[in-house]
């Protein structure tokens, strides 16, 4: 029906002067947007099939392709923009919930961009990280509140199990199923080489990756997919996922078509069955219930591994975090509303949750106020886009950050936000063998390592400028931040002064 025709947002533009008809665009587009037209002897494109993933643009040997925003427009209206109108049309057609992926794309304030970092001048010296030692290692976990001594007066090691990171970053939870085997291998190998951690997400751990266990965080979520004793003990820490920044209050739904072969085996569910993670954990309705699961997992791992509780940043986050800190968890991970996902209802992704910067500051403040900050480490996630974001998050109170979107970008993701289609042209968010093959982990892991090493260099550079030689000294050090263009309320929640103050 003509009424449901939606003009594509982006159009494929081909420079026919440059195009040599090598057809790599056609071969590489899983959406079949390109086709060679025998009769006209040239390549033609159907922009309506294009998801703007740039696979063709990147591989075109003569640089003949680009994707441009369409000039096609509705009559301009600040209230009813084109996207909203088109979404109405789509729902009129499908009668269903709109799905999308990756993080919240809407124009809410990005507080990281309103926070500025300090640097030393005259009265305190800055440090040259190329000449002086600069420490970015962090240790995550609960800290004992007192020193214990034995009968002989010697100190007793009462340090609970911890995670030791070479730099304050870890790869976020992304399940095998939502991402490919090769993506998982890339993350696992990169984490191992970097001396940090990656996270299985709720998809179990493929047996091939048990050897990366010392750098693996195994996740237990509401669907309990792939969870068994060996799995829990395979990693360095266990994470209970209560929520996800991209879809707070919502469970997960991995469609049956992605539950193929190895994914099915690893998740321990039949091939082709939908993997539905319930919205809540049905055994957790209170902090006390959470405490039971925390200790069940500690019991199952003989108290040798720290337990992380991951929540989405929501309105009451500070109070919830306080409860989690008292539940026996060693680490709290907070996921902001810009955090990515392989699939989420669009309305949830775009409208639920709060910014990580505010959540993190509120939680850190609350735990300090309640004098329980040392009981837990804080990990912040939900669109840490650069080393600067990471440094700001640490200054707001994070011990470390989860890096998700930036990591998949390193693997080749071009943020087309079509993960839910399962036809990722970059071999990341797909289980189609010929697409999975496109991500060579030998390349992928190297790019991840490069990215993290680059960030670590930058972190050291920034710290040196501040005159700080250990990341520990930066944590929660909000004096190193100044807000710009923020109102009193925002500044007070962030616990920072305005620039010029």
């Amino acid at each position: 029906m003509p009424i449901n025709y939606i003009y594509p947002d982006y159009e494929i533009e081909r420079d026919y002067d440059k195009c040599i008809n090598c057809r790599v665009c056609e071969r590489q587009c899983a959406n079949e947007a390109h086709a060679y037209n025998e009769r006209r002897g040239k390549m033609l494109a159907d922009s309506s099939k294009c998801v703007n993933c740039h696979r063709c643009v990147s591989l075109c040997p003569t640089r003949a392709l680009k994707i441009v925003r369409t000039a096609h427009t509705f009559r301009e209206n600040a209230n009813w923009n084109g996207q909203l109108i088109n979404e109405i049309y789509k729902q009129c057609d499908s009668g269903g919930v709109l799905l999308s992926s990756m993080g919240n794309p809407r124009e809410y304030p990005i507080y990281f961009d309103r926070l500025l970092l300090n640097a030393s001048q005259v009265t305190n010296p800055s440090i040259d990280p190329l000449r002086e030692p600069m420490e970015t290692r962090v240790s995550l976990g609960a800290k004992p509140d007192r020193i214990e001594r034995g009968a002989d007066g010697r100190m007793v090691n009462n340090l609970p199990p911890r995670l030791n990171l070479s730099m304050p970053a870890m790869f976020s939870a992304m399940s095998f199923g939502s991402i490919s085997y090769n993506a998982h291998e890339s993350l696992a190998r990169a984490a191992t080489e970097l001396g940090i951690y990656y996270n299985t997400g709720e998809g179990g751990l493929h047996e091939d990756f048990y050897r990366y266990g010392p750098n693996t965080i195994v996740q237990v979520a509401s669907g309990r997919f792939g969870v068994h004793g060996e799995y829990l003990n395979a990693g360095a820490a266990v994470e209970i996922k209560m929520g996800q920044g991209a879809k707070p209050g919502i469970g997960g739904h991995l469609p049956g078509k992605k539950i193929v072969g190895e994914v099915s085996r690893t998740r321990m569910i039949p091939v082709g069955s939908d993997a539905i993670s319930p919205a809540p954990h049905h055994d957790i309705y209170s902090i006390e219930d959470l405490r039971q699961l925390v200790f069940s997992l500690k019991e199952a791992t003989a108290y040798t591994k720290p337990v992380i509780v991951k929540i989405a940043a929501v309105h009451n986050v500070a109070a919830i975090a306080s409860g989690i800190a008292r539940s026996g968890a060693d680490i709290i991970a907070i996921d902001g509303y810009r955090g990515g996902t392989g699939a989420a209802p669009t309305r949830i992704r775009d409208n639920v949750g709060i910014p990580i910067e505010l959540a993190l500051a509120a939680v850190d403040t609350r735990l300090r106020d309640e004098r329980i900050r040392d009981r837990v480490s804080l990990v912040a996630g939900g669109s840490i886009r650069s080393s600067a974001d990471l440094v700001k998050a640490v200054a707001l109170g994070a011990d470390a950050c989860y890096i998700g979107t930036a990591a998949v970008l390193a693997l080749g993701c071009h943020l087309c936000r079509s993960c839910q289609e399962g036809k990722c042209n970059w071999g990341i968010a797909t289980q189609v063998p010929e697409l999975v093959k496109r991500l060579n982990p030998n390349v992928g892991y190297r790019r991840l390592v490069n990215l993290m090493n680059a960030w670590n260099h930058e972190i050291k550079e920034i710290m040196g400028g501040m005159g700080i030689n250990s990341i520990e000294s930066l944590r929660g050090n909000r004096l190193m931040l100044r807000g710009v263009g923020l109102n009193e309320k925002e500044l007070s929640i962030l616990g920072v002064k305005h620039a010029g103050e």
Binding site: I20, R23, L59, R438
Partner: protein
């Protein structure tokens, strides 16, 4: 010595290696100008059947049947690279019949062509390797 190896596991049958190869062996420095409207004659070729695909080029064998069988002495091993002297080749194609990989190709010009690891091209190193989007083609020394 460094050779080109193809890892079937990562080959995507995108055929870019063929185009980069064809380009590497031309004097023209702009790829569009070099290849537009001309059938390419690459020295590396992708074979594909169903989901199995891989590229094949000269293996620069240690015991090269093509060199040993060459009637004219046009094929020779220079620093481990099996090279062809186009001036000497008369296109008899004995090498084509000898090569177990099908990596020497007859041409209409009356001389055969084959991969010479780009030693004489402006890049000086194999362009198929540089152009492979998935590191399926690598150029390295492997001790066997």
């Amino acid at each position: 010595m460094k050779r080109v190896y193809v890892n079937e596991q990562w080959c995507l049958a995108c055929h870019l290696c063929e185009y980069y190869c064809a380009f590497a062996n031309q004097d023209e420095t702009d790829m569009s100008t070099a290849l537009k409207g001309v059938p390419i004659r690459p020295n590396i070729r992708v074979e594909q059947l169903g989901d199995v695909c891989f590229a094949v080029n000269c293996r620069h064998c240690d015991e090269p049947l093509c060199v040993k069988g060459c009637l004219t002495g046009a094929l020779s091993v220079r620093d481990g690279v099996i090279s062809i002297d186009r001036d000497k080749c008369v296109g008899c194609c004995t090498c084509v019949v000898s090569c177990p990989y099908g990596a020497v190709t007859p041409t209409e010009d009356g001389v055969v062509q084959k991969c010479e690891l780009c030693v004489n091209t402006r890049d000086g190193e194999p362009l198929c390797v540089k152009g492979c989007p998935n590191a399926a083609i690598v150029w390295e020394s492997v001790v066997r």
